[in-house]
């Protein structure tokens, strides 16, 4: 299998409301940033792939205008997934593995501010039996949190600890939306308090991938993708054990995550309770506290929907680039209560 690495990562400053900027305006500085990091021009990119969602923008084909930010002239080899950008990275990784491309630009963006995100996300549920009830994303996450508490796997105090650790870590992340101590707050949907929930906000991120010696030429310390896999579970919450994430565990196995210990894990856990599920599925609790979890602050510090998963891969790669990690795990999720999960294993040389 070809060696493929993340050679550059960039992201916007994530904000509650970006009404003054379009998606293209939000994206362009990020795209320019990652290209500048590698010294590549747009025409040097062999393949471009993005992730976004029409339901956030409130219009069909919202990604077509974002393409203006790429400068797709002369025409480019390009694709788009209606998924988090982590899956766009997966498509680009496969493209490089075929040998048809040596470099790829991956980007993702999401503006949650124009709508009511909790209501918008109800539209991704089973349209016949669940969506008509409008159960919102916080309510579903609360069901999962309560299941964890009932099973004796966590309690509200432990969840508050995850929230505090994440926002404290984000103090050194200039892109984060929530930094420093955040009050646990009032119960939003019991047992989840506002502090257990992610901020709602807008943002964009981009990654450059490159193969083999091209990657070595473009950056001093490439973050090599040693494994990358993703799995989906049943949609109906009623047939799932919400305290577990077998799809995360299987993706991690396939990605080789359990072959050697990692020193860092960037987990896409928008709710504190979901970090508990992911740590158990990935065996991170057993590793006697040696694994640094979400040093960026994670999704609890910034959650630009559709880009949050790609940012986990980017943050893990960036730590490898600057020598702060030798082997890192990055995780992305999609769907209600962690229905679909992706795991990447990244290493320095």
């Amino acid at each position: 299998m070809r060696e493929v690495a993340v050679v550059a990562f960039g992201q916007s400053v994530h904000v509650r409301d970006s009404a003054e900027t379009s998606e293209v305006e939000m994206l362009m500085p990020v795209l320019h940033d990652v290209l500048a990091q590698t010294g590549l021009a747009a025409r040097d990119i062999d393949f471009t792939c993005s992730g976004s969602c029409d339901y956030l923008a409130g219009r069909a084909f919202s990604f077509t205008m974002a393409l203006d930010g790429v400068g797709a002239w002369p025409p480019v080899s390009e694709s788009h997934v209606e998924m988090d950008g982590a899956w766009a990275l997966y498509e680009a990784w496969v493209k490089i593995l075929t040998g048809e491309a040596d470099t790829a630009l991956v980007y993702a963006y999401g503006k949650s501010s124009p709508g009511d995100l909790r209501e918008v996300l109800t539209r991704q549920l089973d349209p016949y039996y669940v969506a008509p009830l409008w159960p919102d994303s916080v309510a579903l996450a609360a069901l999962q949190a309560q299941a964890l508490i009932d099973a004796g796997l966590t309690d509200e105090r432990a969840l508050a600890g995850i929230a505090a650790r994440s926002r404290t870590a984000a103090e050194s992340n200039p892109h984060a939306q929530l930094r420093g101590a955040v009050p646990a707050g009032e119960p939003l949907v019991a047992p989840l308090r506002t502090g257990d929930c992610p901020p709602i906000g807008d943002g964009a991120a981009a990654v450059v991938l490159a193969a083999g010696d091209t990657a070595r030429r473009l950056t001093a310390r490439p973050a090599w993708i040693r494994g990358l896999d993703h799995r989906i579970e049943a949609h109906s919450l009623g047939v799932r054990d919400l305290t577990d994430s077998p799809s995360t565990r299987l993706a991690a196995e396939r990605a080789g995550a359990f072959e050697l210990p990692v020193d860092t894990a960037e987990l896409h856990a928008p709710f504190t309770s979901q970090e508990v599920v992911l740590r158990r599925a990935l065996g991170l609790d057993a590793a006697d506290g040696t694994v640094r979890i979400n040093p960026s602050g994670g999704a609890l510090a910034a959650n630009p929907v559709m880009a949050t998963g790609l940012i986990r891969i980017g943050e893990a790669a960036a730590r490898i680039h600057r020598g702060a990690s030798d082997r890192a795990l990055a995780h992305a999720t999609s769907g209600p209560c962690l229905q679909q999960n992706l795991v990447a294993v990244l290493e320095g040389e």
Binding site: D54, A60, F61, F63, E91, L97, G99, I232
Partner: protein
């Protein structure tokens, strides 16, 4: 290490109609997937991954419906990818799936595309509101009609060409039991007498709005060796994109389409597509796009495409049959339309196209486009495995 050759060993599609009120979204996609599995004589357990595509989620009012469809498509515990590249998505989806096999990430992949347009109104779904775009357009026809007029002016093509294409495609559809429109009493005069919708495009020169799905099983050499029926082999595949609007854009013959075709021909070793290809399934949602794409894809010199149509070259019994299935003009579940082109091209080289089979078809092109003539996806399939 060279790429793994990719074979199409299973193809399935639903009956396409204006409204499939008898099935849910899950029932619709499962019908196509089940038929593809049956064609390949495989079961759900033989599938390593699922790659699904569709056009805008607003058409059904379900955000990222693949999450809900995971169970119906046997994807639980497997990887599932969702592609969306506007109208070209059915083709792009097949190419993403093919790459999973070519890169040896997976051995056997189910790829599927669908649209259930009866859940909404596609024309207004495609008409973007302020503040996204100036309110000039009513549906895709309003966008494309000026470009058709530009083609007519540029080439001097006679007004009659568009109706010839529609008359041909609707007659071809009579031979395709899955096609949406079966106009048994179609005549050229009826096409020419149909109401003018977006000048110069008449009602009978436009695609219908359909519910439907299409699925394919893509597999590696070992999978093809076990297949019960002849495979179609992927000899080349490519995607190209350019911006929606920019100064100097050629809407009549976009550069992205030319580049995409050139890439596919290079991969497949095609130097004279007009002579070397036996059938073409191209994305013609408005009749005039047949002569326009004939030029864009290199089957005719610039300005000459309409002459192929006029002289009957693109008829089912002509020497370059175009859209023997009846094409998008007869069946248009938008998200699936591109995959239907890819699948129909594969059916032709497998010799399994039934009454609309082109005799002796060995190499065929599947073509899809979308957005403002800006997203292109194509593949070239053959009856023989590619030389490696």
């Amino acid at each position: 290490m060279s790429k793994e050759p990719v074979a199409v060993t299973g193809i399935g599609q639903t009956a396409h109609v204006a409204a499939r009120r008898d099935v849910s979204l899950a029932g619709l996609v499962r019908e196509a997937a089940r038929r593809a599995l049956d064609d390949a004589e495989l079961t759900w357990a033989d599938i390593d991954a699922v790659v699904i595509g569709k056009a805008p989620d607003f058409f059904e009012g379900v955000m990222m419906p693949e999450l809900y469809l995971a169970d119906a498509l046997g994807a639980v515990g497997k990887p599932m990818l969702r592609v969306h590249t506007a109208g070209s998505v059915g083709g792009s989806t097949a190419l993403v799936a093919a790459n999973l096999v070519a890169a040896r990430v997976h051995r056997t992949v189910l790829t599927l595309a669908f649209e259930k347009q009866s859940e909404s109104n596609a024309m207004w779904g495609l008409s973007l509101p302020i503040p996204f775009q100036q309110p000039l357009l009513a549906g895709a026809g309003g966008f494309f009609a000026p470009h058709v007029r530009a083609y007519m002016r540029r080439t001097g093509a006679p007004d009659t060409i568009g109706s010839l294409v529609a008359y041909k495609d609707r007659r071809n559809a009579l031979k395709n039991p899955y096609a949406h429109l079966h106009e048994e009493d179609i005549t050229l005069e009826k096409v020419q007498a149909s109401p003018m919708l977006w000048d110069p495009i008449r009602y009978s020169e436009t695609c219908p709005s359909s519910d439907g799905a299409c699925a394919m099983i893509l597999t590696d050499r070992a999978g093809a060796a076990r297949a019960p029926h002849p495979a179609a082999w992927v000899h080349g595949g490519a995607m190209r994109s350019e911006p929606t609007l920019f100064a100097g854009k050629d809407f009549v013959s976009p550069q992205a389409g030319k580049d995409c075709a050139a890439d596919v021909y290079r991969q497949a070793g095609i130097t004279d597509p007009r002579r070397q290809l036996d059938a073409v399934e191209m994305y013609v949602p408005f009749s005039w796009y047949e002569p326009m794409w004939l030029e864009n894809l290199g089957f005719a010199e610039e300005g000459e495409g309409w002459k192929l149509t006029e002289s009957g070259v693109t008829e089912l019994d002509g020497d370059l049959p175009v859209n023997p299935s009846g094409g998008v003009l007869s069946t248009n579940p938008i998200g699936a339309s591109g995959m239907l082109r890819f699948a129909e091209a594969a059916l032709q080289v497998r010799g399994r196209a039934g009454a609309h089979q082109v005799d002796g078809a060995r190499r065929a092109l599947g073509h899809a486009y979308g957005g403002g003539s800006q997203f292109f996806a194509m593949w070239l399939v053959g009856a023989e495995a590619p030389a490696t």
